[in-house]
């Protein structure tokens, strides 16, 4: 099992919301993907990947984030608890809450790479603004993956 897992999150039917999955797709088999990294997409259910997360040293999540700023801006979160407020919803757990639960159950270190998006409309494509920034987003994620895994 590779020690690092990259998980792309989001709904690819909702335009920019699916940017995490697009990143995962682009990086799967990418020539510069470090050999210790495995890549998968989880849609919007991080807990569905629980069995794949077990035993990893580090999990890097990539998801759309509503944080203001220009679309495509990347923010790195190591402490997910700062994001936990305001993620409540009825049907499933937010990515942040799911990651916290897995952490509390003795899971790996999680890092969230949040990609700023302005809106999410019904579409199977990213918006032009986000598409334009995609190469820079991929570089940021590759830089995160190039860092030596902790422990």
């Amino acid at each position: 099992m590779k020690p690092v897992l990259l998980i792309g999150l989001g709904n690819t039917l909702m335009g920019d919301d699916g940017v995490g999955c697009v990143v995962a797709e682009r990086l799967s088999g990418h020539p510069r993907l470090p050999p210790q990294v495995e890549v998968m997409s989880a849609g919007t259910d991080l807990l569905a990947c629980a069995a794949h997360i077990e035993g990893r040293r580090r999990v890097v999540l990539v998801d759309a984030i509503q944080a203001g700023g220009e679309p495509g801006g990347v923010t790195r979160f190591e402490d997910l608890s700062e994001l936990e407020q305001g993620q409540d919803h009825v049907h499933h757990l937010s990515v942040v809450q799911a990651a916290r639960l897995l952490q509390m159950a003795g899971g790996p270190t999680f890092v969230l790479i949040g990609v700023a998006v302005r809106s999410a409309e019904v579409s199977m494509e990213l918006s032009p603004a986000l598409s334009e920034r995609l190469p820079a987003i991929l570089e940021s994620v590759l830089a995160e993956l190039a860092e030596p895994a902790e422990n």
Binding site: L9, L47, A48, Q66, V90, V95, A105
Partner: protein, 430 residues
Amino acid sequence: MSTLVIGPLARVEGHGGITVEFEGDTVKDIRFDVPEGARLLEPLVRGKRYDEVAPILSRICAICSVAHTLTSLKATEDAFGIKISPQTELLRELMTRGESIESHALHVFLLALPDYLNYPSATALAADKPAAVTLGLRLKKLGNQIQETLGGRAVHPVNAVVGGFGRVPTFEQIITLRSSLMQAVADCDAMIDLVASLPATDFCHSDTLYAALRSPHLDTYYSGDEVMLLSDGNRAIVSAPDYRTFTNEKSLEHSHSKHSTFRGSPFMVGALARLTVNPRRLTGRLAVAMKRLKLVLPADNPMDNNKAQALELLNDVDRALDIIEQLLRDGLKDERPVPVHPRSGTGTGITEAPRGLLVHSYTYDDGGRIVSADVITPTAMNAASLELHLRRAVEQCGERDDTIIAKRLQMIARAYDPCISCSVHLVRRA
């Protein structure tokens, strides 16, 4: 006039909340704002080839991706006159059991339980009562394992295709699933103990019309083409092509969702409806557990849907083991999917998603491309019934206390396990 606004319940700002308008202490209007947008997604499949449709629509929701996939396949196979093999039918049923296990475990343990035990979130509950949350996570993982084994991926299955399966699971994979399921039998007993220990939630009582898939086996999420609607001893049967009889939807200003009624009455779908419509399956271990949970059918309390989900989870594990035994007894055959010969026409698929009836209905042209598509989710069907129960809860609350009302209404809405199916899933930064 005064207004009580509760929400948002979903992750989309300004949507998915509850609004109660009072005149004095009397409820004038009550609304559950659902940003249910499955219909908005239908243009995405227009013009698509038959084998592209299920993979696209499975992405409506990660929790219900098996239900959307299999309902989509059922609709397409109906349109093309394809008869799947008994083995495919069993394997698909097994997939739905996996989805129900994971979805009910998520809902009962991580979404509903914090309400009952007065914790603001699953993570707060986990900090205090890790055993309960670990139990839920273990059951959810089992459900995901079943889906991934058969579907070929952790989410959005690709292995279930028109006419069958791309690759039939191996004998070894089925044996591994059996082993995991057998280990879960004790977890299910622990779950029933836990749910039986929760405080009573008598927030509202109301006669309820229930609707669920009716099948020859009386215990199925996948097979069957008739819906039974049942209330107070009166029953009606609607066949799949006539689904609009009960999804005669009315557009509403406050919701992207459309309200469904049957002969003017709201109806409830989901676990409680399934147990009510098909009561003959409530035997053995299930009957004992039902007694422990003090669940009496037909129920007049929507909160009982949480108990019904716990019962179903128990039954799902047993039923999945039965299916595996049958597959092993019959011998797993390395079948190829039934050959597809596209033709023009309309096909309808109805199944039971974890939270209730799900309808996909497609019209194809003679080249096998989608001309029109109709997707009606259980949350859309439940919307009118939920609003009715929310109203009854406020009316039966006694003296107006907005804190108590807000808590009760949120718990009732949660008990319906609504799926805001294509809402966006952005992480919000405070």
